[in-house]
C-alpha cells in the first residue's frame, strides 16, 4: 500500500515524538520506581498518588493543568518563553503531554519489576563491597531489565495514543502538532473516513506489536 506524504508525516512525527518522550522519562521513571520499591521516605504515598493521577484523571483535565503551568501567562511559561522555549502549540507541547501521560505506566511497570528482584541479592552485593551505584547497575537493573523494557514499550504506546492532554497543550495543527490520534479525529470530523481508516490501521498494527512484545517480555521474565 502506498501511503500519502501526509500519512507518512503524521506517522513519523508521532513515532519520533513518542520515542523522544519515552527516552526523556526513562531516567526519571526508573529512579522514581526504585525510590518507590526500595526506600521509605516521608510523603512517599502522596508522591506515589500524584504520579499515578494522570492515569485516572480525564486526560483533558491533565491537559488543562499542563496548559496553565506551561502557558505563556504562567510564571514558568513566561520564564521558558524568555529563554526561547515555547511549549504551547508546537511539538514540545506534544512531547510534554505524552511524557506526563505515559509516565505513570512506566513507573508502575518498573516498580513492579524492581519489587520482584530479591533484596537479599542487593544486600549480599553490599557485603561483597559493591557501592550502591554498582549494586543498582550490576544487580538490580539487569535483573529487572525485562520489566523496564516492557514498561518503556507500554509508555511508548500510551504516548502514541495520547489525545486529550495533547489537544489542549499543543492543539491540532496539521504538519506541526498533529499526531495519529489527533489526525484520525480530524479526518472523521471533516468526513474523510478513508483517510481515517488508513491511520486507524497503522495504530492497530503498532499497538498490537507493542503490547505483544511487552507481554512476551513479562511472560519470559516470570520463568527465570
Amino acid at each position: 500500500m502506498i501511503l500519502s506524504f501526509d500519512t507518512w508525516q503524521i506517522t513519523l512525527f508521532s513515532l519520533a515524538v513518542g520515542l523522544a518522550s519515552t527516552v526523556l522519562i526513562l531516567p526519571f521513571g526508573i529512579t522514581l520506581a526504585w525510590l518507590f520499591a526500595r526506600k521509605e521516605w516521608p510523603l512517599k504515598s502522596v508522591v506515589e498518588t500524584i504520579v499515578l493521577l494522570p492515569l485516572v484523571m480525564p486526560p483533558v483535565s491533565t491537559g488543562l493543568i499542563l496548559l496553565k503551568i506551561f502557558g505563556r501567562r504562567s510564571p514558568l511559561g513566561q520564564w521558558l518563553y524568555n529563554r526561547g522555549f515555547e511549549i504551547v502549540f508546537n511539538w514540545k507541547g506534544v512531547l510534554i503531554a505524552m511524557a506526563v501521560m505515559s509516565f505513570p505506566l512506566l513507573v508502575r511497570s518498573v516498580r513492579t519489576s524492581f519489587g520482584e528482584v530479591n533484596p537479599r541479592l542487593e544486600q549480599i552485593a553490599a557485603t561483597l563491597g559493591a557501592s550502591p551505584l554498582k549494586i543498582f547497575f550490576v544487580v538490580t537493573v539487569p535483573l529487572a531489565y525485562k520489566g523496564i523494557v516492557a514498561g518503556a514499550l507500554l509508555a511508548f504506546s500510551r504516548a502514541l495514543g495520547e489525545f486529550g492532554a495533547t489537544i489542549l497543550l499543543a492543539g491540532n495543527i496539521p504538519g506541526r502538532t498533529q499526531t495519529l490520534s489527533l489526525a484520525i479525529y480530524n479526518f472523521v470530523q471533516v468526513g474523510k473516513d478513508p483517510e481515517a481508516f488508513v491511520l486507524l490501521g497503522i495504530t492497530v498494527v503498532l499497538a498490537f506489536l507493542f503490547v505483544w512484545t511487552s507481554e512476551w517480555l513479562l511472560r519470559t521474565e516470570k520463568k527465570v
Binding site: N118, R120, L121, Q123, I124, A125, A126, T127, L128, G129, A130, S131, V139, P142, L143, V224
Partner: protein, 357 residues
C-alpha cells in the same frame, strides 16, 4: 578476636561478649530464635534501634557514638541460607564479584582464586550459568564468592539448612576444609547439632534473642539449658575416631575411640584420612546394668555413670565409656535401674546407629 554485640530490636534483645580465638564460633538455637537477625545486624543489613557491635576492636555500629558502617565497609563475608547467587551472572562472575576489595593481612595471601576453587572443587563449573547448579554446588560457589572478597570474618546463615540430608553430609567436609585451609574466623549460625559438633570450636546457644549458654560444643550442647533450646530429635554425640579397617563381608568397619577402645561402625571403604567423625543419637543408645548376652548389637561398652540429670520428663545420663556418651532415657528407666553417679553400666549401641560424617 573479640566480638561485642549489644543490640535491641523490637522483638529481640541480645547482649553477647565473645572473645573467640576459636576459628569457628557457632550460634545455635531453634528457628525463630533470632539467629539470622543477629547476623544481619553484624553485617549491617538491618537497622538496629540501639546498641553496639565491635569486631576485633573495630566499632562497626554504635548508637551512642553515632557510628554505623555501611555493609560495604565492614569487610565481612556473608554466606546466606539460600546461597543468593546472582542469577544473571556466570559462576565465574559470581565468584569474582567481591574480589576487587583490597586485601589485608596474611590470610589474604592463601586466598588465590585457584586455591579456593581447588579446595571447594568447583573449577569445572566456572563457565556455567548459576541457574544450572545443584543446591550443593550453589552453596560452594556462594562460599567461594565470600572467601574471595577477602573478609576479616565469615558469617554463615544456616548454609546447609536448605539442602537435604544426604547433600548436607557431602557439603560439611568442604566447610571443614575451608576452616582448616584459610585463616578466616567464622561465625556459623545453625539449628543443627551435627554441624556445631563437626565444625565449631565454641558455641553460643541462643533462644528468643537471649544467650542461654556458651562454651565448648561437646560440653555445652549436652547441658540442660542447651537441650531446652533444641529440637527433640537432635541430641546426639559426635566423636572423632581412628579408622582401623573395613570388612565388607560383615558389613562393618572397626574404629578406635581416642581412649583406645574399639567400636564397630557401618561398612565404608577405607577413607583417605584415618581420622573420621561419627555420630550417634542420644536416643539410640541403650543402658544395661549387666553385660547382655545373645544380642545383635555389636557395641557393648563398659562404662561408669558420670551424672544423671532430669530435664522436665526426660533424663540425661552421661556415661564415661572411652568417651563421654550422652544417653537419653525416661525417668522410669532411671528408677528401675537405680542409676546414679558411679554406677557401673554397659552401653549398647547397634553398629548401624553410628553414622559416619
Amino acid at each position: 578476636m573479640l566480638l561485642r554485640c549489644r543490640i535491641s530490636l523490637a522483638t529481640f534483645e541480645l547482649d553477647i561478649d565473645v572473645r573467640f580465638d576459636a576459628r569457628v564460633t557457632a550460634i545455635f538455637g531453634p528457628s525463630g530464635s533470632g539467629k539470622t537477625t543477629l547476623l544481619d545486624a553484624i553485617a549491617g543489613l538491618r537497622e538496629i534501634a540501639s546498641g553496639e557491635i565491635e569486631i576485633g576492636g573495630k566499632t562497626l555500629f554504635s548508637s551512642v557514638r553515632k557510628i554505623n558502617l555501611a555493609p560495604q565497609r565492614r569487610n565481612l563475608g556473608y554466606v546466606p541460607q539460600e546461597g543468593a547467587l546472582f542469577p544473571h551472572l556466570s559462576v565465574r562472575r559470581n565468584i569474582l564479584f567481591g574480589s576487587g576489595r583490597v586485601s589485608r593481612g596474611a590470610a589474604a595471601q592463601s586466598m588465590s582464586m585457584e586455591h579456593v576453587l581447588e579446595i571447594l572443587e568447583i573449577g569445572h563449573l566456572l563457565d556455567r550459568s548459576v541457574t544450572e547448579l545443584s543446591g550443593g554446588e550453589s552453596q560452594r560457589v556462594a562460599l567461594a564468592r565470600a572467601i574471595l572478597s577477602r573478609p576479616q570474618l565469615l558469617l554463615f546463615d544456616e548454609p546447609l539448612a536448605a539442602l537435604d540430608i544426604g547433600l548436607k553430609e557431602k557439603i560439611l567436609p568442604y566447610l571443614a576444609r575451608v576452616r582448616d585451609e584459610f585463616a578466616i574466623p567464622m561465625i556459623y549460625v545453625t539449628h543443627n547439632v551435627t554441624e556445631v559438633l563437626t565444625l565449631a570450636d565454641w558455641v553460643l546457644v541462643i533462644r528468643s534473642g537471649r544467650l542461654m549458654a556458651q562454651g565448648l560444643p561437646s560440653e555445652t550442647l549436652t547441658s540442660s539449658r542447651a537441650i531446652r533450646a533444641m529440637p527433640e530429635e537432635e541430641l546426639e554425640n559426635v566423636f572423632t575416631v581412628e579408622f582401623i579397617e573395613a570388612d565388607k563381608a560383615s558389613g562393618r568397619s572397626r574404629a578406635r575411640l581416642s581412649s583406645g577402645d574399639e567400636i564397630f561402625v557401618p561398612y565404608v571403604p577405607t577413607p583417605a584420612q584415618r581420622n573420621i567423625q561419627v555420630r550417634v543419637r542420644a536416643d539410640d543408645i541403650l543402658i544395661a546394668t549387666q553385660r547382655p548376652e545373645g544380642i545383635s548389637a555389636a557395641n557393648i561398652l563398659p562404662g561408669t555413670v558420670r551424672n544423671v540429670e532430669m530435664i522436665e520428663d526426660q533424663s540425661l545420663v552421661r556415661v564415661h565409656a572411652g568417651e563421654i556418651f550422652c544417653v537419653r532415657v525416661t525417668a522410669g528407666a532411671i528408677t528401675r535401674l537405680a542409676l546414679h553417679e558411679g554406677s557401673a553400666v554397659f552401653l549398647i549401641i547397634k553398629t548401624r546407629s553410628f553414622q559416619l560424617l
